[in-house]
C-alpha cells in the first residue's frame, strides 16, 4: 500500500486481524489504521461509553530514557515535577520549544528511579527523539522502543474484563502502572487512556499481541473500536489532540493545558522554571490571557468541522475550530476551539462560518461528557 507521497505505510502487528474483523483501514500517522469496524463509529463510541472498547494504538511511539540523575536532567525539558515523581505512576506532560510552543504531548511513566518510559504521538516520534538527543544525549541514554503492541481497553466494564482475565485491579488508581499477567501473558499495564472513561493501556511483546487480543475479545463485553470513535470519544472528554489543539506556535496557556506544569515548577513553586520555554510561558502568565481553549455547541444539527473560522457578532475573526464533530453521547454537534479570551465566557454566543452562513454557537465548559476515571476507595 502506498500513500500520496509514495512511501509505504507501516502496519501494526494486529493489522490482518483488523482486516478480518471488517475494519476500514486508512492512512494515519504513517500507519494503516482501522478507522471503524462494520458496526460504525457511532455504535463503537456508544459501546465504549457503556461497556468496554478495545483499541489498537500500537502506532504510538515509545522512548526509553535512563541514566544517572535522570529526573534532574529531564526537568530541563519537561515542565513536570520529575524529582518527586512516584515510582510506577504516570504523568501527562509536554515537550516545549524555546518560545513555549508545544512540540508534543506525552505520557511519562517512572518504572525505576533512574528510568522513564515515554509514550509519544506517532507523527512526532522522530522529532521528539531528536529533541531529547540534542539536549540530553550526552547525559542520558535515549532509545526508541520497538517490538511492542499497545492495546487500550476503555469503558466502565474494563476493570471487570481484567478481573475475568485473572487480575483484580481495585487497588490500581488512575495514572498508575503495574506489570501483570493477563491470560498467562506478561503485560505492562497502566490505568489510563484517552476517552474519559476508566480503562487500561496494555503493552505486550508483539509475539503475544494476537493471543492477548483473542483473550480480551473472548469476553462478549469487549469490541474492537477504531480511531474514528477514538477521536469522537476524546473530543467529548475535552482532551487535546496534537496537531489540532496543540502545535509549536501554541503555548500550554493557549491550549488549556497549563495544569500540566507541576506546582513546584510554576513561578511561585519551589523550583520555578528551569525547563525549555519557561521564560516565554512565565511572561505570558503575568499578562492577561489572549487566547483560550473552549468547548462549543453549535445550533442546529449540521456539523461544524475542524478548521472552521469563528467570528463575533460583527463578523470579526476571533478564532477557529480546532476539532469539530459529532457527539454520539449527546446526539448533537460539538467543537473544541481556540478563541480570543474576551469572547470565551461560558454561555457567550459566537458564530461559525459554515458554507457561507453564520451558525450561532454557544461557548460551554469542558468536558462535554464527565470523566469517569477510577480512584481507589479510601477503605482499600
Amino acid at each position: 500500500m502506498e500513500n500520496n507521497f509514495g512511501t509505504e505505510h507501516k502496519k501494526t502487528t494486529l493489522h490482518s486481524r483488523h482486516v478480518k474483523a471488517g475494519a476500514k483501514m486508512i492512512p494515519f500517522a504513517g500507519y494503516k489504521m482501522p478507522v471503524s469496524y462494520p458496526s460504525g463509529i457511532i455504535q463503537e463510541h456508544q459501546h465504549t461509553r457503556k461497556h468496554a472498547g478495545l483499541f489498537d494504538v500500537s502506532h504510538m511511539g515509545n522512548i526509553l530514557i535512563e541514566g544517572e540523575y535522570c529526573a534532574e536532567h529531564m526537568e530541563s525539558l519537561l515542565p513536570t515535577d520529575m524529582i518527586n515523581f512516584p515510582l510506577n505512576h504516570l504523568r501527562y506532560s509536554l515537550l516545549l520549544n524555546k518560545q513555549g510552543g508545544i512540540i508534543d504531548d506525552l505520557i511519562v511513566i517512572r518504572t525505576n528511579p533512574q528510568k522513564f518510559i515515554l509514550t509519544v504521538n506517532a507523527a512526532c516520534l522522530e522529532k521528539d527523539l531528536e529533541h531529547f538527543t540534542h539536549h540530553l544525549g550526552n547525559q542520558l541514554n535515549i532509545s526508541k522502543v520497538s517490538g511492542k503492541t499497545l492495546l487500550a481497553l476503555q469503558g466502565p466494564e474494563s476493570a471487570s474484563v481484567m478481573h475475568r482475565l485473572g487480575q483484580d485491579t481495585s487497588d490500581m488508581g488512575f495514572m498508575t502502572y503495574q506489570k501483570m499477567n493477563l491470560a498467562d501473558i506478561t503485560c505492562s499495564v497502566s490505568r489510563s487512556g484517552y476517552t474519559g472513561e476508566d480503562g487500561f493501556e496494555i503493552s505486550v511483546e508483539d509475539c503475544f499481541a494476537d493471543q492477548l487480543a483473542s483473550s480480551l475479545l473472548a469476553d462478549e463485553r469487549v469490541k474492537w473500536i477504531g480511531i474514528g470513535a477514538r477521536d469522537s470519544l476524546r473530543m467529548e472528554a475535552g482532551l487535546n489532540l496534537y496537531g489540532q489543539e496543540m502545535n509549536e506556535s501554541l503555548t500550554p496557556l493557549d491550549a488549556g493545558v497549563f495544569w500540566t506544569i507541576s506546582k513546584s515548577r510554576r513561578p511561585d513553586g519551589e523550583r520555578p522554571g528551569g525547563f525549555l520555554g519557561f521564560e516565554s510561558i512565565f511572561d505570558a502568565v503575568s499578562k492577561p490571557q489572549k487566547k483560550r481553549l473552549v468547548g462549543l455547541v453549535p445550533e442546529g444539527r449540521s456539523l461544524v468541522r475542524t478548521g472552521t473560522i469563528l467570528t463575533d457578532a460583527v463578523d470579526t475573526r476571533i478564532g477557529y475550530v480546532t476539532s469539530g464533530g459529532y457527539s454520539a453521547s449527546l446526539a448533537h454537534p460539538i467543537c473544541l476551539a481556540i478563541i480570543d479570551s474576551e469572547h470565551a465566557a461560558i454561555g457567550n454566543t459566537i458564530y461559525a462560518n459554515v458554507r457561507d452562513s453564520h451558525r450561532a454557537a454557544t461557548v460551554c465548559s469542558l468536558p462535554f461528557v464527565k470523566h469517569r476515571y477510577y480512584r481507589v476507595p479510601d477503605n482499600l
Binding site: 463509529i41 457511532i42 474514528g228 449540521s302 456539523l303 464533530g325
Partner: protein, 124 residues
C-alpha cells in the same frame, strides 16, 4: 420505472415526469454513519449541477449536486428525524427528494445499472 446512476454515486428513478433522487449504497458506505441530511426547499428550481443536499456523516460532509434540472416537488421528511435511514436503505426509503422534469434527456445520459456496476468495479 427505471433507475440510472451518476459517477458521483447518485441514483435517479424515473416515474413519468417525476424523478426520485438518492445516493447509492456505495456512497453511504463510504460516508459512514450519517447524522444530518440537509434537503432542498420544495418548489425550488434546480439546474443540473446545483447543490441539492448536504449529507453529513461523522467522518465527512458529502455534497450532492443535482443530476438533473427541474422543480423540487417533495423532500423525504423522514430524514429530518432519522438521517440514518440513508445508511440503512440508501436506494429505497433513504431517498432524498423528487424532482419534476419534463425533458428526460439529462436522465437518459446517465449510466444504467450495468454501467454503474462496471464503474464501481473500476474504483476498487
Amino acid at each position: 420505472m427505471k433507475t440510472r446512476y451518476t459517477e458521483e454515486h447518485e441514483w435517479v428513478t424515473k416515474n413519468d415526469d417525476i424523478f426520485t433522487i438518492g445516493i447509492t449504497d456505495y456512497a453511504q458506505d463510504q460516508l459512514g454513519d450519517i447524522v444530518y441530511v440537509q434537503l432542498p426547499q420544495t418548489d425550488s428550481e434546480i439546474n443540473k449541477g446545483d447543490d441539492l443536499s448536504v449529507i453529513e456523516s461523522v467522518k465527512a460532509a458529502g455534497e450532492v449536486k443535482s443530476p438533473i434540472s427541474g422543480v423540487v416537488l417533495e423532500v423525504n421528511e423522514e430524514l429530518d428525524g432519522e438521517p440514518e435511514l440513508v445508511n440503512e436503505s440508501a436506494e429505497d426509503s433513504g431517498w432524498l427528494c423528487k424532482i419534476k422534469c419534463i425533458n428526460d434527456s439529462e436522465f437518459n445520459a446517465l449510466m444504467d445499472a450495468h454501467q454503474y456496476q462496471a464503474f464501481l468495479r473500476k474504483l476498487s
